[in-house]
């Protein structure tokens, strides 16, 4: 049992060094890649949605939060958000493997996670509304908590998202809409999915919005910190739209983009850039992360020794 | 004036009601109506409506108020009088089809009644609707419950062929005629004297033989009692063959026939009775011993049996049943005197003769049994 306690990644905050951010982001990347391998090997059933290529925003925005009181609502593609929030690698892998020592006892699986103030639900858009309700409750408590609701550009097809933005703005709820615009929803490019401009939708609800590239961790962290602080201080919603590229498939094997497109995407992989920024420590970090993943996998594959 | 007539037909008011009741005529029969004028009120289980004329002319009611008709049936006619009469003659029998509203009984009640051949109109419901339990109660009270189901009865045996034949014959006789019964008190002094006289000569003569002998003298004068009504025709027996009821020790009923009774002496009659009775006891009656009788007699001499009514035999007009001999006190000028009597019942087909004729027959029989003593 104590060995498993060590199977976690160190989370980061506003004061962390680049190398620490890199370790966390690298850990997320490795986890997701390991997961796809396990599916390919037939060791896991069901489905999963990896966030390969989108690690920067997860790490940066989460680092801007106050983990002692802030809440996070994520969606189907939530492993990065979850690991950035709490770093619990083994419980997450165990959950996806359906083990009773997983985050939710094997009942929730990849898309339905809950730990401390982190919640996720796999039905697109609905969790955003729940996040607004959580923000209301926290506002009532007057503890200054901010609720971060993760949503992708595809989520902006769901009506409940607009209902939520309307209510959140009307009621001045302390919620941050953290949008990961990766340009694709399942297999449909955003331009075939959304009319008009995504960020301009926030204007309609009187929600201040900032668009950032999302590829540089420090830049993203700064923008996120600014947004989180504003939400906390002003007690009204804000939106942060970060651009990123989903490098993996939607779930497994359902990537309809052509090889040239994918190659170009990989060429500008923001994690590679962050690795360079991490400098000399990068190699050691890679090895540590790899070892962690191996141990975690071994533990997840092991028989349940204890209840 | 146009000969066109417009027919008001019962409309469909709701999806589930196939009948409509004309509750009230708003406009009188024979009065003039104009287009749009209300003429009748109708009703179904779930809806009511007012019907108006679609034509101008004379109104003639097709059905009286309160009638329930199927959808599409004619309720009224509007037009000139002559044309309407013609249309009414041509209208199919929907008027006759103005059926009564379905009797209020549940489906289970109908099914149970059908199984027992019961007319629901005979069943008194508890409440507005005849329910299965009402029918069941009716059946139980009548005692006509399903034979096999009732634990109060146990199956004993199959009925014998003889029993079934007797039952069949009796049933068919009952259904063939309209039977009723007349009771007559016969004076048995004459028979007693005859029997005593025969006994003095060493011959045992049963009362049955005396009765048959007397019938042989009486029946010729009463042709109606020797007839049969069938297929609208009257047939008369040529001979006076009389059957008598004989019961074997096993309880089987037989009806051997003494033929040509009117030609036989009392002694011969007695010998025939004895011969036939013996054969009946042994179950040895053959074809010529039975059948074709024009009359039947039956005697029950068990003491205290005052009278009984016998069931008619097929193809016979009447049957005479004689009860036990009893002593009766008669008051005469000379004082009280006892004399033997017995009650005879004659069950006869009223389609062939009436009670007065049968009474006369009985009086004649009584005289035949009690001839004036020789001076």
């Amino acid at each position: 049992m104590s060995a498993r306690d060590e199977l976690r990644l160190a989370v980061t905050d506003r004061a962390s060094a680049l190398a620490d951010h890199y370790r966390l982001a690298c850990g997320i990347r490795s986890f997701e890649q390991l997961l796809l391998d396990q599916f390919a090997l037939g060791r896991v059933a069901g489905t999963t949605h990896t966030c390969i290529g989108q690690e920067i925003a997860a790490v940066a925005v989460t680092a801007a939060l106050d983990r002692t009181r802030d809440c996070v609502f994520s969606n189907h593609r939530g492993h990065g958000h979850f690991l950035a929030y709490c770093g619990e690698v083994f419980p997450l892998l165990a959950e996806i493997f359906g083990r009773p020592d997983g985050v939710c006892g094997g009942r929730g699986g990849s898309q339905h996670l809950h730990l401390r103030n982190f919640y996720s639900n796999g039905v697109l858009g609905g969790s955003v509304g729940n996040a607004a309700g959580v923000a209301f409750a926290e506002k009532q408590r007057r503890d200054g908590a901010v609720t971060c609701a993760w949503l992708g550009d595809g989520s902006f097809g769901e009506g409940v998202v607009y209902e939520t933005m309307n209510i959140a703005s009307l009621w001045r709820l302390p919620i941050l809409f953290a949008v990961e615009a990766n340009g694709i929803a399942q297999t449909t490019p955003t331009e075939q999915q959304l009319a008009g401009d995504l960020a301009r939708r926030c204007d309609a609800f009187d929600i201040p919005v900032e668009e950032i590239s999302g590829t540089d961790v420090m830049q993203t962290l700064a923008a996120a910190a600014h947004a989180v602080d504003a939400v906390r201080a002003e007690q009204r919603p804000r939106c942060l739209v970060s651009r990123a590229t989903r490098l993996g498939p939607h779930s497994k094997g359902d990537d309809t983009r052509g090889p040239a497109q994918l190659q170009a995407a990989w060429a500008s992989d923001p994690l590679a850039a962050l690795r360079r920024q991490a400098g000399a420590a990068a190699d050691a970090i890679d090895r540590d992360v790899a070892a962690l993943m191996q141990k975690t996998l071994a533990a997840a594959l092991a028989e349940r020794a204890d209840a | 004036m146009s000969d066109d007539i417009w027919i008001l037909r019962a409309p469909r008011l709701t999806a589930n009601d196939d009948f409509v009741t004309l509750t009230r005529w708003i406009t009188l029969d024979g009065s003039s109506v104009a287009v749009g004028q209300p003429i009748a009120e109708i009703e179904t289980e779930k809806a009511t409506a007012e019907l108006s004329a679609d034509a101008t002319g004379t109104l003639l009611h097709a059905v009286p108020a309160g009638t329930t008709v199927p959808i599409g049936a004619a309720l009224a006619y509007v037009g000139n009088a002559a044309a309407i009469e013609a249309a009414r003659r041509n209208e199919p029998a929907t008027r006759a089809a103005a059926v009564a509203a379905p009797a209020k009984a549940t489906a289970k009640a109908r099914a149970l009644a059908a199984r027992h051949g019961i007319d629901l109109a005979d069943v008194n419901p508890q409440g507005d609707t005849v329910k299965e339990r009402d029918v069941a109660r009716y059946v139980a009270e009548r005692g006509a419950a399903d034979i096999d189901d009732d634990p109060r009865r146990e199956l004993v045996a199959d009925a014998s062929a003889h029993q079934l034949r007797v039952a069949r014959d009796l049933r068919s006789a009952m259904q063939a005629g309209i039977f009723t019964t007349l009771a007559y008190r016969l004076d048995l002094r004459g028979p007693e004297r005859m029997i005593a006289a025969e006994l003095a000569d060493g011959r045992a003569t049963p009362l049955l033989a005396v009765l048959l002998h007397a019938l042989g003298k009486t029946l010729p004068a009463f042709p109606a009692l020797r007839s049969v009504l069938a297929h609208g025709k009257i047939y008369r027996y040529r001979a006076i063959d009389i059957a008598f009821a004989a019961r074997s020790p096993a309880g089987e009923l037989h009806a051997p026939v003494v033929r040509g009774v009117e030609r036989l002496s009392l002694q011969h009659t007695a010998r025939e009775c004895a011969r036939l009775a013996k054969r009946a006891m042994r179950g040895k009656l053959d074809a010529k011993d039975v059948g074709g009788a024009c009359f039947t007699v039956s005697l029950i001499s068990t003491p205290n049996v005052e009278s009984f009514v016998a069931l008619p035999t097929p193809l016979q007009a009447a049957v005479l049943a004689l009860g036990a001999t009893r002593q009766e006190v008669e008051w005469t000028a000379a004082g009280a005197a006892a004399r033997p009597v017995a009650t005879a019942t004659v069950t006869y087909d009223h389609a062939l003769c009436d009670g007065v004729a049968v009474a006369e027959f009985c009086a004649a029989l009584d005289r035949a049994l009690n001839p004036e003593p020789a001076p």
Partner: protein, 338 residues
């Protein structure tokens, strides 16, 4: 304060008491604020007396229930009103995939003490999309309670009971039923109330003084009609029926039905609902009773379901009356068993 005399007054009083006694209670929905006080006036007076705790929302059924679910996750006790039960499906995903599921899929780590109140039912000529009884589609959703008040219980107490439960409860009110006067008992019957830990929302069992010829089961808005049908059958057909008025629609109150079956020798069971019976509440009740009958080795029971015709509820009153179940339909169904 005098005791409320109508269903509506009782609901209002119950919400008022809940707001007063539990600071975690929030009431939210469309047009709830005074002076309007809600489309059916259930919340009248509450926003004035509890400012900040009675919230008017935009017309966003999904958003309302989503936000209420989030509130419940964090320990508040929200009571969300959906103006017409016909609109419930707009919030269907939130009810079924969010509120009802969080507790189980998060492995019992959270609770969602959410109450959703909504009026169902027709008989006001409101037309096909404002007259339905859709609660049957929410029966059997794991994690979701469904309850329905009626005039023979305390509706306000039922709502408070729902608020106390730590799981989502869908409270089905009735548009016509709001005006019904409350009663503790009905002449000619002994009133038995059954509630237990497995099924906390009480069932009312009206036992006739004579031995019952059969059982009539109903809930919510059909209660007055069922009572009228029972009266008609007693007076005109000499049939004495026991009436079972259920207030817990889901999970099925098996223990209540078992207790009733233990206490009666009925061979006729007729269920009454305002929705079309196909795939509905009556079917569930009959399956449950049949299972109980079999376990208790009792004789055969004749079952009938009374409900609406399988059609959209028409707007014209006469047409609506033809589609929705009436006293005559109940009487005919009962008689058909005799």
């Amino acid at each position: 304060m005098s005791r409320p005399t109508s269903v509506l007054a009782s609901l209002n009083a119950g919400l008022r008491a809940a707001l007063a006694e539990d600071a975690r209670v929030i009431v939210l929905g469309e047009d709830l604020l005074d002076p309007y006080g809600g489309a059916f006036k259930v919340t009248r007076g509450l926003s004035s007396d509890f400012p900040g705790r009675v919230l008017a929302t935009p017309i966003s059924e999904a958003g309302i229930v989503a936000v209420a679910t989030g509130m419940a996750l964090r320990g508040l006790r929200p009571v969300a009103e959906i103006m017409f039960g016909d609109f419930l499906f707009l919030a269907g995903d939130q009810i079924v995939n969010h509120a009802a599921k969080y507790r189980a899929m998060f492995n019992q780590q959270v609770r969602v003490p959410l109450v959703i109140r909504t009026p169902m039912g027709g008989r006001r000529g409101y037309g096909p999309t404002h007259s339905q009884s859709l609660e049957k589609h929410f029966l059997g959703v794991p994690g979701l309670w469904v309850a329905a008040p009626h005039p023979l219980i305390d509706p306000g107490a039922l709502v408070r009971q729902a608020i106390e439960i730590d799981d989502p409860v869908l409270v089905i009110e009735n548009k016509i039923g709001y005006g019904e006067p409350l009663r503790d008992e009905v002449a000619g019957y002994e009133t038995v109330r059954i509630a237990d830990e497995q099924a906390p929302f009480a069932t009312v069992w009206l036992k006739p003084h004579a031995p019952a010829d059969g059982l009539l089961l109903c809930y919510g808005g059909m209660t007055p009609i069922a009572l009228e049908a029972a009266r008609h059958l007693r007076e005109r057909e000499r049939l004495d029926l026991g009436l079972v008025i259920v207030s817990q629609l889901a999970p099925t109150p098996v223990s209540h039905l078992d207790a009733i079956m233990a206490g009666t020798e009925t061979a006729v069971v007729v269920t009454v609902e305002e929705a079309p019976p196909e795939g509905g509440w009556g079917a569930e009740i009959i399956a449950t009773i049949e299972r109980i009958r079999d376990a208790r080795r009792r004789g055969a029971i004749a079952y009938r379901r009374v409900g609406a015709k399988r059609a959209a509820v028409p707007s014209a009153r006469a047409l609506e009356d033809d589609v929705l179940p009436q006293v005559g339909d109940i009487a005919a169904a009962v008689l058909d068993c005799f």
